[in-house]
């Protein structure tokens, strides 16, 4: 079983991972799409709803 110290570390790590996923996930999906897309789009066309 985990010691109290380690429990705290795990909780902290999960918290950090959660914040990273919260702010990083959509940019990550866009980055993966942008890199692999064929043909390559321009960034402004990617983000604006109208262009």
């Amino acid at each position: 079983m985990l010691s109290d110290d380690n429990k705290e570390r795990v909780t902290k790590a999960v918290e950090v991972a959660k914040v990273a996923a919260h702010w990083g996930w959509v940019p990550f999906v866009i980055y993966v799409g942008f890199v692999n897309a064929n043909p390559k789009p321009s960034l402004i066309k990617l983000l604006s709803p109208l262009a």
């Binding site: 985990l2 429990k7 795990v10 909780t11 999960v14 959660k18 996923a21 919260h22 996930w25 959509v26 990550f28 999906v29 866009i30 993966v32 799409g33 942008f34 692999n36 897309a37 064929n38 043909p39 789009p41 321009s42 066309k45 990617l46 983000l47 709803p49």
Partner: protein, 363 residues
């Protein structure tokens, strides 16, 4: 034969024969004494596998996908009220990549909402993320690992404490069975969370039986489990499909889907809850018509609701939606209109070139 075959999603994963495994593990070794000792076992195993293949049972699909045909025919999952607009921009077809802006307004149930999402899909992975104006993220990621099935993560992350959830899942489809394991909000520290395991096995080409066990650990030291039984029956020429999930605590969920023709689907669902406190049941019956540029869904249910949804495509890039529901018992109604606009940054030539081979992502 190459050791790492590509497996299309939905297709049964190739099963390694015992002798193939042995050949892979010891490629150049001459036949050893231990192998000749094991040979009666491997030959029996091979005969068993050949017999099993000859039955031609087919994959039963996953336990989670049971009843999906009925759910996509009924409009309960598609109905909305108020006004909504979805602007989708296709950036690439192979691999698929698109971004979506969606707006919704004036709904009786939900506050006005704006969300921005992105989807990326190729033959091995599926990534999706959407963030709304309150900063809530919903996302999913599926990754298929050739022979080892598909791993899935689904999450909703919010600033508001207690509204975040994460679900980890693994799917494996064998020759004539499927296994699925799920963990919802698992805690690494004290092991709390909800864990679900299911197994579905084809018994004949048309019948599959299965078990699903749910273990709930709301607090450390407390755990409850519940096992339900799954049945899936289908017609020999795949025109109808019936599923049922029964658990001993007194719940029954049954669905029926019938493909009446290429363009017409009918579906029915029944849910019965039988508890000592009282019985409850609800049923719904619906149909879906596909026209060349439109689809229409109509539904009746036992709570006195009549609803309809029309999706009309004026051009391939522009669709108009109308939804309505009348609750005769409560004397209430809902009404919704929506548009869907699809644009692309690709030229028609690029589009045609990409259309040739669009991969099927692991959903």
């Amino acid at each position: 034969m190459s050791g790492y075959q590509q497996v299309a999603p939905g297709e049964a994963a190739p099963v390694l024969q015992q002798n193939e495994v042995a050949a892979k593990l010891h490629p150049e070794q001459p036949k050893s004494a231990s192998e000749s000792v094991l040979s009666p076992i491997t030959s029996t195993y091979n005969r068993f596998m050949d017999w099993r293949k000859s039955l031609n049972l087919g994959s039963p699909g996953t336990a989670e996908a049971m009843g999906r045909e009925a759910k996509t025919t009924l409009l309960s999952n598609f109905i909305f009220d108020g006004a909504r607009a979805d602007l989708t921009k296709g950036i690439s077809l192979n691999p698929a990549f698109q971004v979506t802006h969606s707006f919704s307004l004036g709904s009786q149930q939900a506050p006005p909402n704006y969300s921005f999402g992105a989807v990326y899909a190729d033959a091995k992975s599926f990534l999706q993320g959407a963030v709304d104006h309150t900063g809530t993220l919903t996302g999913r990621a599926n990754q298929s690992f050739a022979n080892l099935g598909t791993g899935k993560i689904q999450a909703q992350l919010s600033e508001v404490p207690g509204q975040s959830m994460i679900q980890l899942e693994h799917d494996y489809q064998g020759l004539d069975y499927s296994i699925n394991g799920k963990a919802m909000n698992p805690s690494l520290v004290d092991g709390t969370g909800i864990y679900i395991g299911s197994y579905l096995q084809s018994i004949t080409p048309n019948i599959a039986l299965g078990l699903e066990t749910l273990v709930q650990r709301p607090q450390p030291g407390i755990s409850e489990s519940l096992t339900s039984y799954l049945v899936r029956l289908s017609g020999s020429n795949r025109d109808w499909l019936a599923t049922a999930q029964i658990n001993p605590s007194g719940m029954l969920e049954a669905t029926y889907h019938h493909k009446l023709s290429d363009k017409v689907d009918a579906a029915a669902t029944l849910q019965v809850i039988n508890r000592p406190q009282g019985k409850e049941a609800s049923a719904s019956l619906g149909a879906k018509y596909d026209f060349r540029m439109a689809s229409f869904r109509g539904q009746l249910d036992s709570t006195g609701k009549v609803s309809a949804l029309l999706e009309q495509r004026f051009t391939p890039a522009f669709a108009f939606l109308v939804a309505g529901e009348i609750d005769h018992l409560k004397n209430a109604s809902k009404f919704g209109v929506g548009i869907m606009l699809e644009s692309t940054t690709m030229t028609p030539e690029e589009m045609n070139a990409a259309m040739q081979s669009v991969p099927q992502p692991p959903i």
